[in-house]
Symmetry: C2
Subunit: 658 residues, 2 copies
């Protein structure tokens, strides 16, 4: 059996790969770059990696995720299939990641003028600097060492002293000084571990290049998300973004969320494979950025990365095992400087990787980065900073104090646990309205294509819409008395048909079920209860919140009114809400521009108090009370209660008149 080679042909994409007989089909698809979705990371429990075996044979363990009809058509879970013969494999539309839609996310990131204004009081003083110096050539009367000569000139010309020097600089210095005819460009970096010397952190000399190339002075800022990775190339001479790129995190085929990634990392060879996957993604983006900007890889001097604790630990090759096990300890709050090339990142050998300090295993450097970027640590306003997602990281505070928690919201916001749930990519239903008179829906999808499923923001809009017209009641149950065939009993209980099979890409009715609604209620309840718990811990109420900063790409597509309607966001006037987009990337960029921000990030990580909600009694009470639309305590959502009552009035009036 072993060593027999088999050819696998994937469609769409026309990709061929030759592998050993017996290989796992999901692993082979990942290797071939076909990028199937596999939310559970190959455990066989999600059913998202179903593929159609058009020719050839696989040996496949059948789970309840494959229906009889699907099985007979030739659909198999790739993760459960061993390759026996040469194959022709078709990846169905619902199992495919599409990259076209990523540009919509990029837009959110790029429109950075207003959010940048949130953080104030920072000077433009990048940690990375380039200095051109012309040295007096050595003579017998002045033959100090090459390094001393260079440091002396830096001191004379730029008043910089007390620097540390990387050994690699010493290694190449003699030749470069002479190649440059004693004119060189010196790159220095201020790292977070360097001590302050007279109001400035000490600089580290990380590179020296012949001649004057100080005008080529770039830095990279990255956000490593569980789903997507975004990178920007920054021109440090002009303080601007010169190129941007975004890609799905290459780990996505190993699991949709951090828990499944951690699970995968515990398999033999799992951690290096995940690390390699995200590094490949980063390298791909760097290549895009260089192509866009015509910059040279040698002119990139620094790499700032923000991400959640799991993403950062995997990137650094730090076993994330204990993040997942109670009491949930990360490896380190502050990661010491590490050479990016030692991780496989394709940048010069002098480039250090800076990662943001973190607050806890589930409140990572991405949140610290976002807090710093949005100036929460500087404002006098009581602020609620939220990043909506599986971990639902929330921060409450202002300049004097900051408290934080992660709310285990479940994956409903990312389409998980939802019958037709999907990530926010093309074909996902996002817009939703309903005609109150005939209860017929109007759906809009990302990219305007025929619908494939429902994304998280779509789910919120749908549930809010169904609530407003009374199709569901405040406990999330369907009102089965209404005169519409859209409400029907399905295999998972009652459901509402959003799109009929012929009008979909998947040739199946797309529905929302009571189970789906229940999952969303749990998710929103966790976040609201978390907010309430933090706010009451400091003796205030949700109504005291003066500013809500919504971070994340998800947030950018959130309809505030609908999110208040279901009880996800607190019932506050619309002008208190601010979308910051990718706060994590924004913080990484601002920190690349300002050493002050570097200091701020450390200070924020230090003062931030983390609440572990998993065994917090107050949280449990708040959570149970929030398992209602919008809330069991109507006083928390006075405007919603009033509006629902008005709508119910209107609708009963209308029905009477019809």
């Amino acid at each position: 059996m072993a060593n027999k080679k088999r050819k696998v042909h994937f469609e769409p994409g026309n990709v061929d790969i030759t592998v050993e007989q017996g290989s796992n089909l999901l692993e082979v698809a990942i290797q071939a770059g076909v990028r199937p979705i596999a939310s559970c990371g190959g455990a066989g429990t999600c059913g998202t990696c179903k593929v159609l075996i058009e020719q050839g044979e696989v040996e496949s363990t059948r789970t309840d995720k494959v229906s009889d009809e699907e099985y007979q058509r030739g659909l198999r879970q790739a993760c459960q299939s061993k390759i026996l013969t040469d194959l022709v494999v078709h990846i169905p539309v619902e199992s495919r990641l599409e990259t076209a839609v990523l540009t919509r996310e990029r837009k959110g990131v790029a429109t950075g003028d207003q959010p940048e204004a949130l953080a104030t009081g920072w000077r433009f003083n990048p940690p990375l600097s380039k200095f051109f110096v012309e040295l007096p050539p050595p003579t017998l009367g002045d033959n100090i060492s090459d390094l001393s000569r260079m440091l002396r000139s830096l001191k004379q010309h730029y008043k910089i002293r007390n620097m540390t020097v990387d050994f690699d600089v010493v290694r190449k210095l003699p030749q470069i000084l002479r190649d440059g005819d004693w004119k060189v460009t010196v790159t220095t970096l201020v790292t977070a571990v360097e001590p302050r010397v007279a109001d400035r952190r000490r600089r580290r000399v990380i590179n020296v290049q012949p001649g004057n190339i100080s005008r080529k002075h770039y830095s990279l800022a990255f956000d490593i998300g569980t789903t997507t990775v975004c990178g920007q190339l920054l021109d440090l001479n002009h303080g601007k973004v010169v190129a941007e790129g975004i890609e799905y995190n290459g780990q996505i085929s190993y699991g949709a969320d951090v828990i499944s990634r951690i699970a995968y990392s515990q398999k033999s060879g799992g951690l290096p494979k995940l690390q390699q996957a995200v590094v490949t993604t980063i390298n791909g983006i760097i290549e895009q950025l260089l192509t866009q900007s015509q910059a040279d890889i040698e002119d990139i001097g620094h790499l700032t990365v923000a991400g959640n604790t799991t993403m950062i630990q995997i990137l650094l090759g730090l076993d994330p095992k204990y993040i997942r096990l109670s009491p949930y300890t990360p490896a380190a709050t502050y990661i010491p400087p590490v050479k990016a090339s030692s991780l496989g990142v394709k940048v010069g050998e002098h480039v250090y990787l800076f990662t943001f300090p973190l607050a806890a295993s589930y409140v990572g450097g991405d949140i610290i980065s976002g807090i710093v970027a949005s100036g929460v640590h500087q404002t006098k306003k009581l602020t609620y900073y939220m990043d909506i997602g599986t971990n639902g990281e929330i921060v409450i505070g202002k300049s004097d104090w900051l408290v934080t928690a992660a709310c285990s919201a479940g994956s409903a916001f990312e389409g998980g646990g939802v019958k037709h749930g999907m990530i926010a990519t093309s074909g996902a239903i996002e817009e939703f309205s309903i005609n109150p008179s005939n209860l017929e829906p109007v759906v809009g999808t990302i990219g305007g294509e025929k619908p494939k499923g429902i994304c998280g923001s779509g789910l919120i809009n749908i549930v809010a819409g169904l609530l407003e017209v009374g199709i569901i009641s405040q406990n999330g149950k369907f009102n089965t008395d209404l005169p519409t065939r859209r409400i029907r009993e399905g295999s998972d209980g009652y459901e509402y048909v959003l799109a009929k099979a012929p009008k979909t890409q998947i040739n199946k009715d797309i529905v929302i079920t009571e189970v789906d609604i229940d999952n969303l209620i749990r998710a929103k309840a966790a976040m609201y209860a978390g907010c309430q718990t933090l706010v009451t811990s400091v003796g205030m109420t949700c109504q005291d919140i003066e500013q809500v900063i919504i971070a994340g790409v998800f947030g950018s597509h959130l309809n505030i009114e609908k999110a208040i309607t279901i009880g996800l966001l607190p019932d506050l006037p619309p002008d208190r809400f601010v979308f910051i987009g990718n706060g994590s990337l924004l913080g990484a960029r601002l920190t690349s521009f300002s050493t002050d921000m570097l200091d701020d990030a450390r200070r924020v990580a230090k003062v931030m108090t983390n609440f572990e909600l998993s065994e917090n009694a107050a949280f449990m009470n708040n959570y149970v009370a929030a398992l209602f639309l919008p809330h069991t305590n109507g006083n928390e959502f006075p405007s919603v209660i009033k509006r629902l009552a008005d709508l119910a009035d209107n609708s009963s009036k209308r029905r009477v008149t019809v």
Copy 2:
């Protein structure tokens, strides 16, 4: 021709090696570990690597270093020979390095009680420390990161704060904390680049090990000499040397002195080969030290190395090219910390290599180390510190100031440029006396064997002896009127026969020629003139010197009286001379024991003023004046002049009476 394999058999040693036809015989001998001497590094100019081709054929370029008789016997310069067929090669005794005699050097190194007392005012506070800590296991109420937990405990138990941490420590920390059941041993290092925080340099956490192993706490001190490499394993808990080792520097077959090593480093692949050679030597010594001490390699936490600038740059892989080219600039005065394993040294990955700062290309870290070890920087006495050798490094000064210079003494002290010169190994004539009545010599050799040649200290004793009995006059010329056949005319002019062929190992008369004497006079003149130049630059004279510290193994075997007689040492009372032995190794050891010494070394390197003598007019005048035995200015050597006069008196009286 290419790729044909040939077998070469070496004797003595019974070593076989199979190599490609056409290979260079010297390179092959080095590769086979046969260790021939090759003073010029394979340039063909020294004739020390002559070997006897007993069977087979080589293609050899003949130089004037091979006499007709030698050529006919089958002797060839290995460096000039290409292997054509299978060979049987005999390495003659004069071309062999013997290791047995190294133990005599080791003895010099070990007797460290008195010299250690020279340096005062240092506390026992090693830069390397081990701390055992027991951490409270994490709970949901206390789930800070693993690293923060460890640093917190170190702060609580040992009042250590503000540490930096190596990334590799973070990488392994989570698993080690749990393997050790929250009891771990933390290794910290104070490097020279760490800033002071409240009278202490900041510590760097370089290692963490499960359990309590703080009693296994070792450090390595090395002196990398051009000829020999000495290493010691230090127990930092008890402040003592637990094992010692010495070996010839593996580079020795690539050239005897730093200049030929630098020349070799410029050949294609030369630098890596030299680097590899010394690293192999170091690794061999480490293996010896571990065997002697039963210590474990993982328990070694630091490596302190002293050596001249060329040796250190080659060890670090820094191109030494510019050391040799005017104006003689080294790469760096202070070498940043570098991981020893990155250079190929076989120690744990956490081990940093510390190299001493240097004063100049030819006044290296070995001198700084020796100065610190002998307390020159602390004494009120005007001190002359000297390391006798090719570069003849000298330092004049005391606690307030230090001036230094390297005197290009030539290689006479190491047996170079001397017809029967050799390095100080077994069979070298070292002791010499002469019967004034019949002018017959009595010679004593190192190891007591039949003589093979003359080492540097022997040369001094011989020339002083010949001068005292009037066989040579003060200008170094033979008195050919004397009634002895020992004085005769040879191929290089007049010579004195020290040993007749049958009484030697080489079956040739061993002689000293006028050319040899002239070379010694040049060498001693360079050192004396250097001393004079430095002393007069500060407005004093050689007679004002209150203390002379003689470093180096050569120094340890120097006869003070004879060295004064020829004018190498200043004419001072014997109690002003102190032998420090291997000052470089001593400094490396003391620095491993005391962070104070680390600071001292940096301070000394900073304050020391280097004189470049090569274009110094005063030096040239002093040098010319010193080309006489002992000196053209008799006032510089009053006691010698008086003694020579007395001896001449006695001898003329005796001859009259005979």
